[in-house]
Amino acid sequence: MTNNNISENKNSHLGKIDLHAELVETGVEQVLVDLDKSLIGLEPVKTRIRETAALLLVEKAREKLGLAHETPTLHMSFSGNPGTGKTTVALRMAELLHKLGYVRKGHLVTVTRDDLVGQYIGHTAPKTKEVLKKAMGGVLFIDEAYYLYRPENERDYGQEAIEILLQVMENNRDDLVVILAGYKNRMNTFFESNPGFRSRIAHHIEFPDYSTPELLDIGSSMLDQLNYYLTKSAKDAFIEYINLRKEQPHFANARSIRNALDRARLRQANRLFKENNGPVNAEILSTLEEVDIRESRVFSGGIDN
């Protein structure tokens, strides 16, 4: 009697899958939580990634229960301005897909046009194939993908690389995931002129620009990692700096912030030497003052990198 009960119980379990348990078990939840914590802002991106993860998990569960399923197309396109975290998210994506079991190794291979396109006839195909082979079992991240296509030059070898890419993206879907990245409007032109790409890419994810408070948060967390901090007045100066810098050309979001802070640290070191107030302690070494920020060229109408 008891035996019967147990086997019945077992059977009812066989037909059920706890999605939430699955989420935690595969470690996907951990990646998503990390993503939420370590990346400031980027709400639409995070939502899209959560949705994608959910879809892939459901697809896996369907497979386990013997329902009709097919490997979804996972190729993606990340579009957004420079410094909005495309590469960082790609790295997380690779980890996520690995934990979900859609790529076997989960490594990220980052390439640009130079790594794919050759310099003379017959050079491109082996070069592209070499890169694709290296990326198999992982994720291939093509930065500034639109450079592959140069309509102004009929004999450009980029077209050849595109053809091989498309072929492998279609035939070896189980082996690698391709992520194309670049600025938004140029990516749009690229997709318009290469319809083959558009149809093979299922997920178009847009990376919005950061707002000033978000940029300040990013800057603070960068400094935190380096054991620096801004004084109250320095913080106000930095907000002013961000607002001015945003209006200037070549603003690269988080990357510009990192550069600005690097220069502030440089000026702080310089100031400490000039002041020469005797021995310094940890407190002094880790404080960025208002002057360190204010000395930036941006405040006097110049341009920072």
């Binding site: 076997r104 082979k133 290296k134 079992g137 992982g138 082996d175």
Partner: protein, 138 residues
């Protein structure tokens, strides 16, 4: 006559999935895997033609299976093997080698005997296929 050279040669031919598993084992051991082909099956023919470079830095076996299939497209009627080279100091040699493709028709070997001084015999073997020039054997 089925050629029995290398590992697994007494088993049925490996499927692509099985090749993938074996190659992944090699890669996980840090061996450099490469693909070679030939149309001369003599056992002393040690050095086959290389199909591309050895793949040192591919973390996944899919790349090797891909190359095997590329090689099959061009040399479908040749012998193709996968070899794994261990570069560890003191080894520096092939750790694993197995055939992944063979011609449809394998004619086998002829044993020739030569009487030499006294009543000694000298034996040698020769593939029937190698009567024809290279490239036209299978």
């Amino acid at each position: 006559m089925k050629l029995r050279q290398g590992t697994f040669s007494f088993l049925p031919d490996l499927t692509d999935a099985e090749i993938h598993t074996q190659v992944q084992y090699c890669i996980d051991n840090g061996w450099a895997v490469s693909v070679e082909y030939t149309d001369d099956p003599h056992p002393r023919n040690t050095y086959w033609e290389m199909w591309g470079h050895p793949m040192f830095d591919n973390p996944d076996a899919a790349a090797v299976v891909f190359e095997v299939n590329e090689c099959r497209k061009q040399f479908g009627d040749y012998y193709i093997r996968v070899i794994a080279f261990d570069s560890t100091h003191g080894w520096e040699s092939i750790k694993l080698s197995f055939i992944v493709n063979r011609p449809k028709d394998e004619p086998g070997f002829h044993v020739s005997r030569e009487e030499v001084k006294g009543r000694s015999m000298r034996y040698s073997i020769k593939s029937y296929a190698t009567d024809k020039p290279e490239g036209k054997r299978y």
